[in-house]
Protein backbone atom coordinates (compact mmCIF):
# COMPACT_ATOMS: atom_id res chain seq x y z
CA UNK A 1 0.00 0.00 0.00
CA UNK A 2 2.80 2.41 0.98
CA UNK A 3 4.59 1.42 -2.19
CA UNK A 4 1.45 2.21 -4.08
CA UNK A 5 1.22 5.65 -2.50
CA UNK A 6 4.80 6.38 -3.51
CA UNK A 7 4.06 5.33 -7.06
CA UNK A 8 0.99 7.52 -7.07
CA UNK A 9 3.02 10.59 -6.20
CA UNK A 10 5.50 9.85 -9.00
CA UNK A 11 5.13 11.69 -12.25
CA UNK A 12 4.54 9.72 -15.38
CA UNK A 13 8.07 10.49 -16.55
CA UNK A 14 9.61 9.18 -13.33
CA UNK A 15 7.46 6.15 -13.45
CA UNK A 16 8.29 5.35 -17.08
CA UNK A 17 12.01 5.73 -16.41
CA UNK A 18 11.71 3.41 -13.46
CA UNK A 19 10.15 0.87 -15.78
CA UNK A 20 13.13 1.15 -18.10
CA UNK A 21 11.31 3.00 -20.89
CA UNK A 22 13.90 4.94 -22.84
CA UNK A 23 13.55 8.63 -23.59
CA UNK A 24 13.62 7.70 -27.24
CA UNK A 25 10.76 5.20 -26.82
CA UNK A 26 8.80 7.79 -24.87
CA UNK A 27 9.25 10.47 -27.52
CA UNK A 28 8.30 7.99 -30.21
CA UNK A 29 5.07 7.39 -28.37
CA UNK A 30 4.48 11.14 -28.04
CA UNK A 31 5.06 11.59 -31.77
CA UNK A 32 2.69 8.72 -32.61
CA UNK A 33 0.05 10.17 -30.28
CA UNK A 34 0.44 13.60 -31.84
CA UNK A 35 0.06 12.26 -35.34
CA UNK A 36 -2.92 10.13 -34.35
CA UNK A 37 -4.54 13.19 -32.82
CA UNK A 38 -3.75 15.14 -36.00
CA UNK A 39 -1.59 17.60 -34.10
CA UNK A 40 1.37 19.24 -35.84
CA UNK A 41 4.83 17.77 -35.08
CA UNK A 42 5.67 20.99 -33.27
CA UNK A 43 3.30 19.82 -30.55
CA UNK A 44 5.42 16.75 -29.73
CA UNK A 45 7.71 18.48 -27.20
CA UNK A 46 4.66 20.00 -25.52
CA UNK A 47 3.00 16.61 -25.25
CA UNK A 48 6.21 15.06 -23.97
CA UNK A 49 6.60 17.79 -21.39
CA UNK A 50 3.02 17.54 -20.23
CA UNK A 51 3.08 13.76 -20.01
CA UNK A 52 6.46 13.82 -18.31
CA UNK A 53 5.15 16.00 -15.54
CA UNK A 54 1.70 14.49 -15.32
CA UNK A 55 0.79 12.75 -12.10
CA UNK A 56 -0.64 9.31 -12.57
CA UNK A 57 -4.34 9.90 -12.50
CA UNK A 58 -6.57 7.53 -10.65
CA UNK A 59 -8.78 5.50 -12.94
CA UNK A 60 -11.79 3.55 -11.78
CA UNK A 61 -12.91 1.07 -14.41
CA UNK A 62 -16.49 -0.15 -14.08
CA UNK A 63 -17.71 -3.17 -16.01
CA UNK A 64 -21.43 -3.59 -16.48
CA UNK A 65 -23.31 -5.61 -19.09
CA UNK A 66 -20.38 -6.48 -21.32
CA UNK A 67 -18.38 -9.39 -22.71
CA UNK A 68 -14.96 -8.27 -21.46
CA UNK A 69 -13.92 -7.86 -25.09
CA UNK A 70 -12.94 -4.24 -24.47
CA UNK A 71 -10.58 -5.24 -21.68
CA UNK A 72 -9.29 -8.09 -23.83
CA UNK A 73 -8.61 -5.60 -26.59
CA UNK A 74 -6.78 -3.30 -24.21
CA UNK A 75 -4.60 -5.99 -22.66
CA UNK A 76 -3.63 -7.25 -26.10
CA UNK A 77 -2.65 -3.79 -27.22
CA UNK A 78 0.79 -3.42 -28.71
CA UNK A 79 2.34 -4.86 -25.57
CA UNK A 80 4.88 -4.12 -24.37
CA UNK A 81 4.80 -0.78 -26.13
CA UNK A 82 4.63 2.64 -24.60
CA UNK A 83 0.88 2.73 -25.09
CA UNK A 84 0.55 -0.13 -22.69
CA UNK A 85 2.91 1.42 -20.25
CA UNK A 86 0.83 4.55 -20.27
CA UNK A 87 -1.95 2.36 -19.10
CA UNK A 88 0.22 0.72 -16.49
CA UNK A 89 1.14 4.15 -15.32
CA UNK A 90 -2.18 5.51 -14.67
CA UNK A 91 -3.32 4.28 -11.33
CA UNK A 92 -5.90 1.69 -12.27
CA UNK A 93 -7.50 1.48 -8.87
CA UNK A 94 -10.46 -0.68 -9.65
CA UNK A 95 -11.00 -3.15 -12.47
CA UNK A 96 -12.77 -6.48 -11.94
CA UNK A 97 -10.81 -8.43 -14.46
CA UNK A 98 -7.38 -7.05 -13.81
CA UNK A 99 -7.30 -6.38 -10.07
CA UNK A 100 -6.04 -8.90 -7.58
CA UNK A 101 -8.42 -7.95 -4.82
CA UNK A 102 -11.91 -9.37 -4.73
CA UNK A 103 -15.09 -9.05 -2.70
CA UNK A 104 -15.12 -6.40 0.06
CA UNK A 105 -11.47 -5.54 -0.51
CA UNK A 106 -12.19 -4.66 -4.13
CA UNK A 107 -15.11 -2.41 -3.21
CA UNK A 108 -13.01 -0.81 -0.49
CA UNK A 109 -10.33 0.00 -3.10
CA UNK A 110 -12.92 1.72 -5.26
CA UNK A 111 -14.21 3.80 -2.34
CA UNK A 112 -10.71 4.69 -1.24
CA UNK A 113 -9.79 5.83 -4.74
CA UNK A 114 -12.93 7.94 -4.92
CA UNK A 115 -12.28 9.67 -1.60
CA UNK A 116 -8.58 10.24 -2.10
CA UNK A 117 -8.96 11.70 -5.58
CA UNK A 118 -12.25 13.50 -5.17
CA UNK A 119 -12.96 15.59 -8.26
CA UNK A 120 -9.87 14.36 -10.11
CA UNK A 121 -10.29 10.72 -11.01
CA UNK A 122 -11.41 9.34 -14.34
CA UNK A 123 -14.18 6.78 -14.57
CA UNK A 124 -13.93 4.34 -17.45
CA UNK A 125 -17.02 2.29 -18.12
CA UNK A 126 -17.44 -0.71 -20.35
CA UNK A 127 -20.82 -2.35 -20.72
CA UNK A 128 -24.36 -0.99 -20.73
CA UNK A 129 -26.59 -0.35 -17.75
CA UNK A 130 -29.84 -2.33 -17.38
CA UNK A 131 -32.77 -0.21 -16.29
CA UNK A 132 -35.55 -2.79 -16.54
CA UNK A 133 -34.55 -4.65 -13.39
CA UNK A 134 -31.43 -4.09 -11.26
CA UNK A 135 -31.20 -7.86 -10.80
CA UNK A 136 -30.02 -8.29 -14.39
CA UNK A 137 -26.57 -7.08 -13.44
CA UNK A 138 -25.18 -6.11 -10.06
CA UNK A 139 -21.80 -6.08 -8.35
CA UNK A 140 -21.38 -6.76 -4.62
CA UNK A 141 -25.13 -6.35 -4.28
CA UNK A 142 -25.00 -2.88 -5.81
CA UNK A 143 -26.97 -2.32 -9.00
CA UNK A 144 -25.08 -1.09 -12.05
CA UNK A 145 -27.10 2.12 -12.07
CA UNK A 146 -26.38 2.86 -8.43
CA UNK A 147 -22.68 2.09 -8.78
CA UNK A 148 -22.36 4.30 -11.83
CA UNK A 149 -24.16 7.22 -10.21
CA UNK A 150 -22.19 7.10 -6.99
CA UNK A 151 -18.82 6.61 -8.69
CA UNK A 152 -19.35 9.32 -11.26
CA UNK A 153 -20.45 11.87 -8.63
CA UNK A 154 -16.86 12.82 -7.74
CA UNK A 155 -15.22 12.14 -11.11
CA UNK A 156 -13.46 14.63 -13.37
CA UNK A 157 -14.59 12.89 -16.53
CA UNK A 158 -16.16 9.71 -17.76
CA UNK A 159 -14.89 7.62 -20.65
CA UNK A 160 -17.44 5.18 -22.09
CA UNK A 161 -15.30 2.50 -23.64
CA UNK A 162 -16.84 0.21 -26.24
CA UNK A 163 -20.15 0.35 -28.07
CA UNK A 164 -22.11 -1.09 -25.12
CA UNK A 165 -21.11 1.76 -22.80
CA UNK A 166 -21.25 4.34 -25.59
CA UNK A 167 -24.52 3.34 -27.29
CA UNK A 168 -25.98 0.33 -25.46
CA UNK A 169 -24.33 -2.18 -27.78
CA UNK A 170 -25.41 -5.80 -27.96
CA UNK A 171 -27.51 -5.71 -24.75
CA UNK A 172 -29.45 -2.81 -26.30
CA UNK A 173 -30.13 -4.73 -29.53
CA UNK A 174 -33.74 -5.33 -30.39
CA UNK A 175 -35.78 -6.29 -28.31
CA UNK A 176 -33.47 -5.09 -25.50
CA UNK A 177 -34.76 -7.43 -22.77
CA UNK A 178 -32.80 -5.80 -19.93
CA UNK A 179 -33.71 -2.23 -20.82
CA UNK A 180 -30.02 -1.52 -21.44
CA UNK A 181 -28.93 2.09 -21.87
CA UNK A 182 -25.63 3.82 -22.55
CA UNK A 183 -23.57 5.74 -20.00
CA UNK A 184 -24.44 9.02 -21.70
CA UNK A 185 -28.13 8.47 -21.05
CA UNK A 186 -27.50 8.43 -17.32
CA UNK A 187 -24.55 10.75 -16.80
CA UNK A 188 -25.60 14.26 -17.74
CA UNK A 189 -23.59 16.49 -15.44
CA UNK A 190 -20.04 15.28 -16.23
CA UNK A 191 -18.10 15.27 -19.49
CA UNK A 192 -18.58 11.90 -21.18
CA UNK A 193 -16.40 10.71 -24.05
CA UNK A 194 -17.61 7.80 -26.14
CA UNK A 195 -14.79 5.58 -27.34
CA UNK A 196 -16.99 3.27 -29.34
CA UNK A 197 -16.10 0.08 -31.13
CA UNK A 198 -16.77 -3.55 -30.51
CA UNK A 199 -14.10 -3.60 -29.24
CA UNK A 200 -12.53 -0.14 -29.46
CA UNK A 201 -9.02 0.24 -30.84
CA UNK A 202 -6.60 0.07 -27.90
CA UNK A 203 -4.52 3.00 -29.07
CA UNK A 204 -7.68 5.09 -29.26
CA UNK A 205 -8.45 4.36 -25.60
CA UNK A 206 -4.95 5.28 -24.53
CA UNK A 207 -4.94 8.23 -26.91
CA UNK A 208 -7.97 9.75 -25.18
CA UNK A 209 -6.34 9.30 -21.79
CA UNK A 210 -3.08 10.78 -23.13
CA UNK A 211 -5.03 13.78 -24.38
CA UNK A 212 -6.53 14.24 -20.95
CA UNK A 213 -3.10 14.00 -19.33
CA UNK A 214 -1.55 16.42 -21.82
CA UNK A 215 -4.17 19.11 -22.04
CA UNK A 216 -6.13 18.52 -18.86
CA UNK A 217 -9.25 18.42 -20.98
CA UNK A 218 -11.11 16.00 -23.21
CA UNK A 219 -10.67 16.11 -26.98
CA UNK A 220 -13.19 17.70 -29.30
CA UNK A 221 -16.19 15.43 -29.79
CA UNK A 222 -18.47 14.65 -32.73
CA UNK A 223 -22.27 14.61 -32.60
CA UNK A 224 -22.18 11.15 -31.03
CA UNK A 225 -19.74 12.20 -28.31
CA UNK A 226 -16.75 10.51 -29.93
CA UNK A 227 -13.34 12.18 -30.17
CA UNK A 228 -13.13 13.75 -33.62
CA UNK A 229 -9.45 12.99 -33.95
CA UNK A 230 -10.13 9.27 -34.04
CA UNK A 231 -13.68 9.15 -35.35
CA UNK A 232 -13.59 12.11 -37.72
CA UNK A 233 -13.17 10.01 -40.83
CA UNK A 234 -15.05 7.02 -42.09
CA UNK A 235 -13.61 3.59 -42.73
CA UNK A 236 -14.60 4.06 -46.39
CA UNK A 237 -12.70 7.36 -46.71
CA UNK A 238 -9.45 5.77 -45.60
CA UNK A 239 -9.99 2.29 -47.05
CA UNK A 240 -7.29 1.06 -49.40
CA UNK A 241 -10.00 -0.81 -51.37
CA UNK A 242 -11.72 2.49 -52.12
CA UNK A 243 -10.29 2.85 -55.67
CA UNK A 244 -12.05 -0.41 -56.53
CA UNK A 245 -15.32 0.88 -55.12
CA UNK A 246 -14.99 3.92 -57.36
CA UNK A 247 -14.21 1.79 -60.37
CA UNK A 248 -17.14 -0.50 -59.64
CA UNK A 249 -14.98 -3.56 -59.00
CA UNK A 250 -16.59 -5.63 -56.28
CA UNK A 251 -15.77 -9.04 -54.84
CA UNK A 252 -18.79 -11.36 -55.17
CA UNK A 253 -17.64 -14.00 -52.68
CA UNK A 254 -14.99 -14.06 -49.99
CA UNK A 255 -12.53 -16.07 -52.02
CA UNK A 256 -13.22 -15.20 -55.64
CA UNK A 257 -10.62 -13.65 -57.83
CA UNK A 258 -11.81 -10.14 -57.08
CA UNK A 259 -11.51 -10.73 -53.33
CA UNK A 260 -7.97 -11.96 -53.83
CA UNK A 261 -7.13 -8.90 -55.90
CA UNK A 262 -8.33 -6.65 -53.11
CA UNK A 263 -11.58 -5.47 -54.72
CA UNK A 264 -14.18 -3.67 -52.66
CA UNK A 265 -16.26 -5.72 -50.19
CA UNK A 266 -19.44 -3.62 -50.44
CA UNK A 267 -21.49 -6.45 -51.97
CA UNK A 268 -20.39 -8.77 -49.17
CA UNK A 269 -21.90 -6.46 -46.59
CA UNK A 270 -19.14 -3.96 -45.82
CA UNK A 271 -20.59 -1.12 -43.70
CA UNK A 272 -17.44 0.96 -44.10
CA UNK A 273 -19.25 3.83 -45.86
CA UNK A 274 -21.40 4.56 -42.79
CA UNK A 275 -18.82 3.77 -40.11
CA UNK A 276 -16.56 6.28 -38.41
CA UNK A 277 -13.51 4.73 -36.79
CA UNK A 278 -9.72 4.73 -37.02
CA UNK A 279 -9.26 1.06 -38.07
CA UNK A 280 -7.98 1.85 -41.55
CA UNK A 281 -5.24 4.11 -40.20
CA UNK A 282 -4.46 2.85 -36.67
CA UNK A 283 -5.04 -0.82 -37.60
CA UNK A 284 -5.08 -3.69 -35.13
CA UNK A 285 -2.51 -6.03 -33.57
CA UNK A 286 0.42 -3.64 -33.46
CA UNK A 287 -0.57 -2.10 -36.73
CA UNK A 288 -0.50 -5.45 -38.51
CA UNK A 289 -3.83 -5.35 -40.31
CA UNK A 290 -7.47 -4.54 -39.95
CA UNK A 291 -10.72 -6.38 -40.84
CA UNK A 292 -11.15 -5.06 -44.38
CA UNK A 293 -7.48 -5.74 -45.11
CA UNK A 294 -7.85 -9.31 -43.91
CA UNK A 295 -10.77 -9.80 -46.30
CA UNK A 296 -13.89 -9.22 -44.21
CA UNK A 297 -16.26 -6.29 -44.55
CA UNK A 298 -16.60 -3.74 -41.78
CA UNK A 299 -19.52 -4.52 -39.46
CA UNK A 300 -20.02 -0.90 -38.46
CA UNK A 301 -19.12 -1.76 -34.87
CA UNK A 302 -18.43 1.82 -33.77
CA UNK A 303 -21.89 3.09 -34.76
CA UNK A 304 -25.03 3.09 -32.61
CA UNK A 305 -27.32 0.07 -33.03
CA UNK A 306 -24.98 -1.71 -35.42
CA UNK A 307 -26.43 -5.00 -34.23
CA UNK A 308 -29.80 -3.95 -35.59
CA UNK A 309 -28.56 -2.47 -38.87
CA UNK A 310 -29.50 -5.48 -40.98
CA UNK A 311 -27.45 -8.59 -41.66
CA UNK A 312 -23.67 -8.28 -41.48
CA UNK A 313 -23.45 -9.84 -44.95
CA UNK A 314 -26.15 -7.73 -46.58
CA UNK A 315 -24.99 -4.85 -48.73
CA UNK A 316 -25.55 -1.47 -47.10
CA UNK A 317 -28.03 -0.52 -49.83
CA UNK A 318 -30.35 -3.43 -49.06
CA UNK A 319 -33.43 -2.36 -47.12
CA UNK A 320 -33.69 -3.81 -43.68
CA UNK A 321 -37.30 -4.54 -44.32
CA UNK A 322 -39.82 -7.23 -43.59
CA UNK A 323 -41.93 -6.30 -46.52
CA UNK A 324 -39.52 -7.57 -49.11
CA UNK A 325 -40.10 -11.01 -47.64
CA UNK A 326 -43.82 -10.44 -47.84
CA UNK A 327 -43.80 -9.09 -51.38
CA UNK A 328 -46.20 -11.83 -52.44
CA UNK A 329 -48.90 -10.54 -50.09
CA UNK A 330 -48.37 -6.98 -51.26
CA UNK A 331 -48.72 -7.98 -54.89
CA UNK A 332 -51.82 -10.00 -53.95
CA UNK A 333 -53.32 -6.98 -52.20
CA UNK A 334 -52.54 -4.79 -55.19
CA UNK A 335 -54.09 -7.23 -57.64
CA UNK A 336 -57.22 -7.62 -55.53
CA UNK A 337 -57.67 -3.86 -55.10
CA UNK A 338 -56.83 -3.24 -58.75
CA UNK A 339 -59.36 -5.83 -59.88
CA UNK A 340 -62.00 -4.26 -57.65
CA UNK A 341 -61.23 -0.78 -59.01
CA UNK A 342 -61.31 -2.16 -62.56
CA UNK A 343 -64.67 -3.81 -61.98
CA UNK A 344 -66.02 -0.57 -60.54
CA UNK A 345 -64.82 1.32 -63.60
CA UNK A 346 -66.51 -1.19 -65.88
CA UNK A 347 -69.80 -0.91 -64.07
CA UNK A 348 -69.56 2.89 -64.16
CA UNK A 349 -69.02 2.69 -67.88
CA UNK A 350 -71.90 0.23 -68.31
CA UNK A 351 -74.22 2.48 -66.29
CA UNK A 352 -73.20 5.51 -68.30
CA UNK A 353 -73.82 3.59 -71.50
CA UNK A 354 -77.25 2.44 -70.27
CA UNK A 355 -78.26 5.97 -69.32
CA UNK A 356 -77.02 7.31 -72.61
CA UNK A 357 -79.84 8.58 -74.82
CA UNK A 358 -79.30 8.22 -78.51
CA UNK A 359 -79.51 11.47 -80.37
CA UNK A 360 -80.60 11.41 -83.99
CA UNK A 361 -79.97 13.91 -86.72
CA UNK A 362 -83.62 14.94 -86.45
CA UNK A 363 -83.22 15.71 -82.75
CA UNK A 364 -80.27 17.92 -83.53
CA UNK A 365 -82.16 19.63 -86.34
CA UNK A 366 -85.04 20.34 -84.02
CA UNK A 367 -82.73 21.99 -81.47
CA UNK A 368 -81.00 24.28 -83.92
Amino acid sequence: MADDRKKLSMTLGESLRQQGVSRRGFLKYCAATASMMALPPTMVPAIAQALEKAKRPSVIWLSFQECTGCTESLTRSHSPSVENLIFDHISLDYHHTLQVASGDAAEAAREAAMHENEGKYIVVVDGSIPLANPGYSSIAGISNLQMLEETVAGAAAVVAVGSCAAFGGLPHANPNPTGAVSVGEIVKDKPVVNVSGCPPIPTVITGVLAHFLTFGSLPELDALGRPMVFFGQSIHDRCYRRPFYDKGLFAETFDDEGARKGWCLFRLGCKGPMTYNACATAKWNQGTSWPVESGHGCLGCSEPDFWDAGGFYNALSIPDSDLTRKTGYVVGAGVALGAAAGALNRSTRAKAAAKHETVTIDDLDKKS
Binding site: M274, A315, S317, P319, T327, G342, N345
Partner: protein, 220 residues
Protein backbone atom coordinates in the same frame (compact mmCIF):
# COMPACT_ATOMS: atom_id res chain seq x y z
CA UNK B 1 -31.18 8.67 -28.49
CA UNK B 2 -32.10 10.08 -31.83
CA UNK B 3 -29.13 9.88 -34.15
CA UNK B 4 -28.50 9.88 -37.87
CA UNK B 5 -28.20 6.10 -37.58
CA UNK B 6 -31.71 5.91 -36.09
CA UNK B 7 -32.91 7.88 -39.08
CA UNK B 8 -31.07 5.60 -41.52
CA UNK B 9 -32.46 2.51 -39.80
CA UNK B 10 -35.97 3.93 -40.06
CA UNK B 11 -35.77 4.75 -43.76
CA UNK B 12 -34.17 1.38 -44.49
CA UNK B 13 -36.77 -0.42 -42.37
CA UNK B 14 -40.35 0.73 -41.75
CA UNK B 15 -39.98 3.70 -44.13
CA UNK B 16 -39.07 1.46 -47.02
CA UNK B 17 -41.89 -0.97 -46.11
CA UNK B 18 -44.46 1.80 -46.28
CA UNK B 19 -43.11 3.23 -49.54
CA UNK B 20 -42.85 -0.15 -51.25
CA UNK B 21 -46.37 -1.06 -50.14
CA UNK B 22 -47.88 2.16 -51.51
CA UNK B 23 -45.84 1.89 -54.69
CA UNK B 24 -46.69 -1.72 -55.52
CA UNK B 25 -50.35 -1.56 -54.53
CA UNK B 26 -50.80 1.86 -56.19
CA UNK B 27 -49.19 0.83 -59.46
CA UNK B 28 -51.17 -2.41 -59.63
CA UNK B 29 -54.45 -0.62 -58.96
CA UNK B 30 -53.77 1.95 -61.64
CA UNK B 31 -52.66 -0.60 -64.21
CA UNK B 32 -55.50 -3.02 -63.58
CA UNK B 33 -57.98 -0.15 -63.68
CA UNK B 34 -56.84 0.56 -67.22
CA UNK B 35 -56.46 -3.01 -68.39
CA UNK B 36 -59.72 -4.38 -66.98
CA UNK B 37 -61.67 -1.59 -68.62
CA UNK B 38 -60.78 -3.35 -71.86
CA UNK B 39 -61.49 -2.31 -75.42
CA UNK B 40 -64.78 -2.39 -77.24
CA UNK B 41 -65.06 -5.38 -79.51
CA UNK B 42 -64.01 -4.36 -83.00
CA UNK B 43 -66.27 -6.13 -85.50
CA UNK B 44 -64.50 -4.88 -88.57
CA UNK B 45 -62.48 -7.31 -90.56
CA UNK B 46 -58.76 -7.02 -89.57
CA UNK B 47 -56.54 -5.88 -92.41
CA UNK B 48 -53.29 -6.57 -90.56
CA UNK B 49 -51.80 -8.10 -87.43
CA UNK B 50 -51.99 -6.28 -84.08
CA UNK B 51 -49.04 -7.79 -82.29
CA UNK B 52 -46.19 -6.92 -84.63
CA UNK B 53 -47.45 -3.41 -85.29
CA UNK B 54 -47.94 -2.82 -81.58
CA UNK B 55 -44.39 -3.86 -80.75
CA UNK B 56 -43.00 -1.86 -83.65
CA UNK B 57 -44.73 1.27 -82.47
CA UNK B 58 -43.26 0.74 -79.02
CA UNK B 59 -39.87 1.16 -80.67
CA UNK B 60 -40.68 3.84 -83.25
CA UNK B 61 -42.39 6.14 -80.75
CA UNK B 62 -39.37 5.82 -78.47
CA UNK B 63 -36.93 6.88 -81.18
CA UNK B 64 -36.50 10.62 -81.79
CA UNK B 65 -38.94 12.09 -84.21
CA UNK B 66 -37.64 14.52 -86.82
CA UNK B 67 -40.41 17.12 -86.81
CA UNK B 68 -40.48 17.83 -83.11
CA UNK B 69 -36.69 17.80 -83.01
CA UNK B 70 -36.61 20.63 -85.51
CA UNK B 71 -39.23 22.60 -83.58
CA UNK B 72 -37.69 22.24 -80.11
CA UNK B 73 -34.34 20.51 -80.15
CA UNK B 74 -33.57 21.43 -76.56
CA UNK B 75 -36.66 19.74 -75.18
CA UNK B 76 -36.05 16.58 -77.20
CA UNK B 77 -32.34 16.23 -76.49
CA UNK B 78 -32.71 17.25 -72.85
CA UNK B 79 -35.53 14.78 -72.46
CA UNK B 80 -33.44 11.94 -73.81
CA UNK B 81 -30.41 12.84 -71.75
CA UNK B 82 -32.13 13.00 -68.44
CA UNK B 83 -34.34 9.96 -69.00
CA UNK B 84 -31.37 7.83 -70.01
CA UNK B 85 -29.19 9.29 -67.25
CA UNK B 86 -31.87 8.58 -64.70
CA UNK B 87 -32.32 4.99 -65.86
CA UNK B 88 -28.56 4.36 -65.96
CA UNK B 89 -28.15 5.71 -62.40
CA UNK B 90 -31.10 3.69 -61.23
CA UNK B 91 -30.36 0.37 -62.88
CA UNK B 92 -26.61 0.18 -63.49
CA UNK B 93 -25.16 1.41 -60.18
CA UNK B 94 -24.02 -1.67 -58.25
CA UNK B 95 -25.53 -0.76 -54.86
CA UNK B 96 -28.91 -0.30 -56.61
CA UNK B 97 -28.58 -3.68 -58.31
CA UNK B 98 -28.02 -5.21 -54.88
CA UNK B 99 -31.25 -3.57 -53.70
CA UNK B 100 -33.25 -4.80 -56.69
CA UNK B 101 -31.81 -8.28 -56.25
CA UNK B 102 -32.84 -8.31 -52.59
CA UNK B 103 -36.43 -7.34 -53.44
CA UNK B 104 -37.00 -9.14 -56.77
CA UNK B 105 -34.27 -11.78 -56.80
CA UNK B 106 -32.92 -10.75 -60.19
CA UNK B 107 -29.55 -9.21 -60.94
CA UNK B 108 -27.40 -8.07 -63.81
CA UNK B 109 -23.92 -6.62 -64.15
CA UNK B 110 -23.40 -2.98 -63.20
CA UNK B 111 -21.02 -0.42 -64.64
CA UNK B 112 -18.15 1.48 -63.00
CA UNK B 113 -19.35 3.66 -60.15
CA UNK B 114 -17.42 6.69 -61.36
CA UNK B 115 -19.02 6.38 -64.78
CA UNK B 116 -22.46 6.36 -63.14
CA UNK B 117 -21.28 9.37 -61.18
CA UNK B 118 -20.37 11.30 -64.32
CA UNK B 119 -23.67 10.40 -65.96
CA UNK B 120 -25.54 11.41 -62.82
CA UNK B 121 -23.81 14.80 -62.85
CA UNK B 122 -24.89 15.40 -66.46
CA UNK B 123 -28.42 14.29 -65.57
CA UNK B 124 -28.63 16.71 -62.66
CA UNK B 125 -27.46 19.62 -64.78
CA UNK B 126 -29.92 18.67 -67.52
CA UNK B 127 -32.81 18.46 -65.06
CA UNK B 128 -31.99 21.95 -63.78
CA UNK B 129 -31.79 23.25 -67.35
CA UNK B 130 -35.14 21.62 -68.17
CA UNK B 131 -36.73 23.31 -65.18
CA UNK B 132 -35.21 26.62 -66.17
CA UNK B 133 -36.59 26.28 -69.67
CA UNK B 134 -40.00 25.34 -68.30
CA UNK B 135 -40.01 28.44 -66.12
CA UNK B 136 -38.79 30.83 -68.81
CA UNK B 137 -40.42 29.57 -71.99
CA UNK B 138 -43.85 31.26 -72.15
CA UNK B 139 -45.69 28.32 -73.72
CA UNK B 140 -44.15 25.68 -71.48
CA UNK B 141 -44.79 27.86 -68.50
CA UNK B 142 -48.43 28.28 -69.46
CA UNK B 143 -48.85 24.54 -69.91
CA UNK B 144 -47.25 23.66 -66.58
CA UNK B 145 -49.35 22.97 -63.53
CA UNK B 146 -48.39 22.25 -59.90
CA UNK B 147 -48.13 18.53 -60.66
CA UNK B 148 -45.42 19.16 -63.24
CA UNK B 149 -43.29 20.97 -60.69
CA UNK B 150 -44.03 18.39 -58.01
CA UNK B 151 -42.95 15.52 -60.25
CA UNK B 152 -39.82 17.46 -61.19
CA UNK B 153 -38.93 17.90 -57.52
CA UNK B 154 -39.45 14.25 -56.59
CA UNK B 155 -37.42 13.12 -59.60
CA UNK B 156 -34.66 15.61 -58.95
CA UNK B 157 -34.22 14.96 -55.23
CA UNK B 158 -33.09 11.31 -55.52
CA UNK B 159 -30.54 12.34 -58.16
CA UNK B 160 -29.24 15.22 -56.06
CA UNK B 161 -29.10 13.34 -52.74
CA UNK B 162 -27.58 10.33 -54.48
CA UNK B 163 -24.83 12.53 -55.85
CA UNK B 164 -24.26 14.14 -52.45
CA UNK B 165 -24.17 10.70 -50.81
CA UNK B 166 -21.76 9.24 -53.35
CA UNK B 167 -19.40 12.14 -52.79
CA UNK B 168 -20.06 12.11 -49.05
CA UNK B 169 -20.75 15.83 -49.20
CA UNK B 170 -22.94 15.92 -46.09
CA UNK B 171 -21.71 14.71 -42.72
CA UNK B 172 -22.35 12.28 -41.19
CA UNK B 173 -22.80 9.80 -44.01
CA UNK B 174 -25.80 7.96 -42.48
CA UNK B 175 -27.68 11.27 -42.65
CA UNK B 176 -27.09 11.86 -46.36
CA UNK B 177 -27.65 8.19 -47.22
CA UNK B 178 -30.88 8.33 -45.20
CA UNK B 179 -31.96 11.49 -47.05
CA UNK B 180 -31.27 9.78 -50.36
CA UNK B 181 -33.36 6.75 -49.44
CA UNK B 182 -36.11 9.01 -48.07
CA UNK B 183 -36.23 10.99 -51.32
CA UNK B 184 -36.60 7.75 -53.27
CA UNK B 185 -39.39 6.72 -50.92
CA UNK B 186 -41.13 10.02 -51.62
CA UNK B 187 -40.86 9.28 -55.33
CA UNK B 188 -42.25 5.79 -54.80
CA UNK B 189 -45.20 7.07 -52.77
CA UNK B 190 -46.18 9.74 -55.30
CA UNK B 191 -45.44 7.60 -58.32
CA UNK B 192 -48.79 5.83 -58.78
CA UNK B 193 -50.83 8.98 -58.28
CA UNK B 194 -49.06 11.34 -60.63
CA UNK B 195 -47.97 11.51 -64.24
CA UNK B 196 -44.91 9.53 -63.17
CA UNK B 197 -47.15 6.52 -63.93
CA UNK B 198 -46.21 7.06 -67.57
CA UNK B 199 -43.12 4.96 -66.82
CA UNK B 200 -45.52 2.00 -67.03
CA UNK B 201 -48.44 3.27 -69.05
CA UNK B 202 -46.32 4.45 -71.96
CA UNK B 203 -45.91 0.80 -72.91
CA UNK B 204 -49.66 0.21 -72.93
CA UNK B 205 -50.40 3.42 -74.80
CA UNK B 206 -47.80 2.91 -77.51
CA UNK B 207 -48.65 -0.70 -77.98
CA UNK B 208 -52.36 0.15 -78.15
CA UNK B 209 -51.84 2.84 -80.76
CA UNK B 210 -49.68 0.58 -82.87
CA UNK B 211 -51.97 -2.41 -82.52
CA UNK B 212 -55.01 -0.34 -83.59
CA UNK B 213 -53.20 0.94 -86.64
CA UNK B 214 -51.91 -2.53 -87.43
CA UNK B 215 -55.38 -4.00 -87.36
CA UNK B 216 -56.55 -1.36 -89.78
CA UNK B 217 -53.55 -1.94 -91.96
CA UNK B 218 -52.25 1.61 -91.69
CA UNK B 219 -48.97 3.02 -90.51
CA UNK B 220 -48.98 4.31 -86.96
Amino acid sequence: MSTSIDFLLWVRGPGFDIALFIFVVGVLIRLLEVLILGRKPDYSEPRGAELGAGLLTLVTRTAPEGGSFKRSPFTVVGGYIWHIGFLVSLFLFVPHIELIDSVLGIRWPGIASNLVDAIAAVTIVTLVAMLFSRLTHPVKRFLSGPEDYLTWVVTFLPMLTGYLAYHRMIDPYPLVLGLHILSVELLMVLFPFTKLMHAFTFIIARWYNGAMAGRRGVQS
